[in-house]
Amino acid sequence: MKTSGRRSSSSGRAAPGNSLGRAGLVLFVLMALLPILFSLGYAAAYSTGTIGLLSDGFTWEHWAAVGRRGELWSSFGLSLYIAFVTVVLTVSLALVLALYLRRPLGYGALSYIIYFPLALPATVAAFLVFQLFSGAGYASRILIRLGLIDGIDQFPGLVHDAFGIGIILAHLGLAVPFFILLFVEIYNTEKVAALAQVAQTLGARRRDVLYRVTVPILLTRCFTNIILLFIAVLGSYEIPLLLGRQAPQMVSVLTMRKYAMFDIAQKPEAFIVALLYTVLVLVLILVAFRKGRTAYGA
């Protein structure tokens, strides 16, 4: 989650309590950054045949083979498509609901109930979507009872489908409540109601207030969260593992499958997928950082 509070400027001078913090940073470097750096270096070396059981010296052959096969591109294509659709639907739905239900979200029972979906892990969300929208799922039972379909074969495939509808539904179930709460929080902390009031006093119509004041403030303030959601969906594992097709697979599932295969010739390809994903994520974090700094006026 993205932080919403403004940070102070710092002088960078040493304080007596700094040694503990310095030790913490060293710990973080030793425990997280160095292993990650080493692992990515290992993955790069493995993917170019420099190390590993199949090592025959440096070669781009594995990269060329992955590029030729197309499995990698369809996997990235699917992941990017699912992440993009999820983000667009999540932000749109959450924005509409947060603005329309602002009052019930602030005071009523809904102000409590809306927090419950935050307790759902991806594992359970995937299980629920499978139970609800598979051929013999609950939605199918209801449609049969209503006489709208006669059997499982007439139920539209929403799980293991070509368009990843089940995967998108599961992600929406997890992300929409969070973004509703985030928009409501930003609306309150940024005093959007007061700004809207000022705009109306100056002669703006309700539509102008919505599209020129309210929505731009909300979207600008949560831009980093939107990028983080995109990255999270792009690399999600549990949901596409249960609800996705065998081919193409989302990047995390593909990486894990290629890594865990008995055929060790597939391992370099697992590392290639991991490296390409890492580069993509680092670029996205950089974009989020730069945009975030602009949004906060830093």
Binding site: S10, A32, I114, Y115, A119, Y237
Partner: protein
């Protein structure tokens, strides 16, 4: 101005939409609970034929694999949350006041935002060499790496000029770093420490991919159990395991809802 009829319709519709959203939020929990009580539910019946507390009684009545998984998950999550919150608290402070905090913060985001499975795949070589695969310690270390990144990002936004000024005041008045933490900083950070503990607890509590990868299937946490039951087509046990996975954080979230979005 909009037509009065439109406004009237919108106002009348609002409670219905609110009720629908509330129902959608509660439905998953209700459905899981019912599914965990089902003994028989033939297709295409909309309601189950037989409900029973047998599964729950079996799990709560004595030592079972599911009960063991619950306790193991709890122990791992508490350990990960304690370590990452404590370490993130001091590291976040150092980074927040550092002249190059943007670069350091960017680095803190890397483990926090990367796919645990993809990063875990690359990390496996190190874990195998360190003989940490298939062990609880290995799973905890791997999860802590991700939770620690989150904790740093979380706390780097917490430390600000006011806290810095208060800390400086303690030193000006002759206080030691220990006294500054003990008397000023820790009491002021109590709420944030709790939130961070809760969030990092959830990061660990919900983790499946990394656990199955580093734990090599031997560390049977609750999410691992859920997938195991789904794989066996044992949906009633999967629902029961899901209930155990979901109910504690749901109750905690509900109890602490006012904290969730404070500076997060």
């Amino acid at each position: 101005m909009e037509p009065r009829t439109g406004t009237f319709t919108r106002r009348r519709l609002r409670p219905a939409v609110a009720a629908l959203v509330a129902a959608l939020c509660l439905f998953p929990f209700l459905y899981l609970l019912i599914l965990s009580l089902v003994q028989e539910w033939s297709f295409p019946d909309v309601l189950p034929e037989v409900l029973s507390l047998d599964l729950w009684a079996r799990v709560l009545g004595g030592p079972t694999a599911l009960g063991g998984s619950f306790l193991l998950s709890l122990a791992i999550s508490v350990g990960v949350a304690t370590a990452s919150t404590g370490a993130g608290y001091v590291t976040g402070k150092y980074i927040a006041y550092h002249p190059r905090r943007q670069v350091l913060l960017f680095l803190a985001y890397v483990p926090f935002i990367m796919s645990p499975v993809i990063l875990g795949t690359c990390l496996m070589y190190l874990y195998i060499k360190a003989d940490l695969t298939g062990s609880v310690l290995g799973v905890m270390l791997a999860q802590t790496m991700f939770a620690y990144g989150f904790s740093i990002v979380f706390f780097s936004a917490f430390w600000n000029t006011e806290l810095r000024a208060l800390e400086d005041l303690v030193y000006t008045l002759g206080g030691s770093p220990y006294q500054a933490y003990r008397r000023v900083l820790l009491p002021m950070s109590k709420g944030m420490l709790l939130i961070c503990f809760f969030q990092t607890f959830l990061i660990s509590w919900f983790q499946y991919g990394l656990t199955i990868l580093i734990g090599a299937g031997k560390v049977q946490t609750l999410p691992v159990k859920v997938y195991e039951y789904i794989g066996e087509a044992n949906i009633y046990y999967a629902a029961l395991a899901s209930c155990l996975l979901v109910l504690p954080p749901a109750l905690l979230l509900w109890a602490n809802k006012r904290f969730v979005f404070k500076q997060v």
